[in-house]
Amino acid sequence: MPNSSIHHDASMKHWDDFMGFIDKLSENKRFSSKKSYRFKLAAEELVSNIIRSSESSFGSTQIMPTLQIAAKEVSLLNYDYLEVVFIDDAPRFDPNFDQLESPNHIEAPVALRPIGGLGLFLVKDSVDSISYKYCRGQNTYTIEMELESAS
């Protein structure tokens, strides 16, 4: 697979563009159907969060942040994976993936369950690895999804 990327304003105007790109990545022949779904779920949740943050930021600054998604296959000695990097210049947002656990309210009765709080949990839970860094005014989220052996 050649390296591929997409870059647009981080707004819902480009939702279909971002999701079309994600869909293509999820169709990787070395993904099981389960892994394909999980990757698409994680990517959708992450893009949704980034766009929400960006559009909120635009409301106060009138400057629309952008989102770039870049993907490549990485081949190591015994481990091949798809690396997908999400880079945006919205305000700094650290999801603290290392400390993220199942939301406490998961055990709460239905009537008391807050409506939100599920997206980032699903991002972390759905991928093989995820990391975050903030550098030069950009949030960078890196997802790794192991690839099945090439036949």
Binding site: M19, K34, Y37, E44, S48, V110, I115, L118, G119
Partner: protein
């Protein structure tokens, strides 16, 4: 990346059929449809997911919202959901609110 929603009355309540994907873009349509129902009076809400290929947390939030508006003795049943959707409902602990039918 589109969503079609149809609804019909059943003996026990209302049935909604979802076709396509429920994500950040399309979930508001689902939420709107659910809010148009007389949720507090429903004893049962069934959601047909046979033709739904994907649902993100935005869709789950819409369903949870609906269940919270329904009477506590009512049921919200999804059926025909793909493995990915079933997995997501289970891992987020929403099986308390959403009954998964294998029908």
């Amino acid at each position: 990346m589109s969503l079609q929603i149809t609804s019909s009355q059943s003996d026990a309540g209302v049935m909604i059929k979802l076709t396509g994907t429920v994500d950040t873009k399309t979930a508001p349509d689902l939420l709107l449809k659910l809010t148009e129902l007389d949720l507090p009076s429903l004893s049962e809400l069934k959601v047909d997911m046979h033709e739904m290929t994907f649902m993100s947390s935005a869709g789950l939030r819409a369903l949870l919202f609906a269940k919270q508006k329904m009477d506590q003795n009512s049921t919200l049943i999804v059926y025909g959901a793909c493995d990915g959707v079933v997995d997501t409902i289970k891992k987020t602990g929403l099986t308390q609110a959403i009954v998964i039918s294998e029908e």
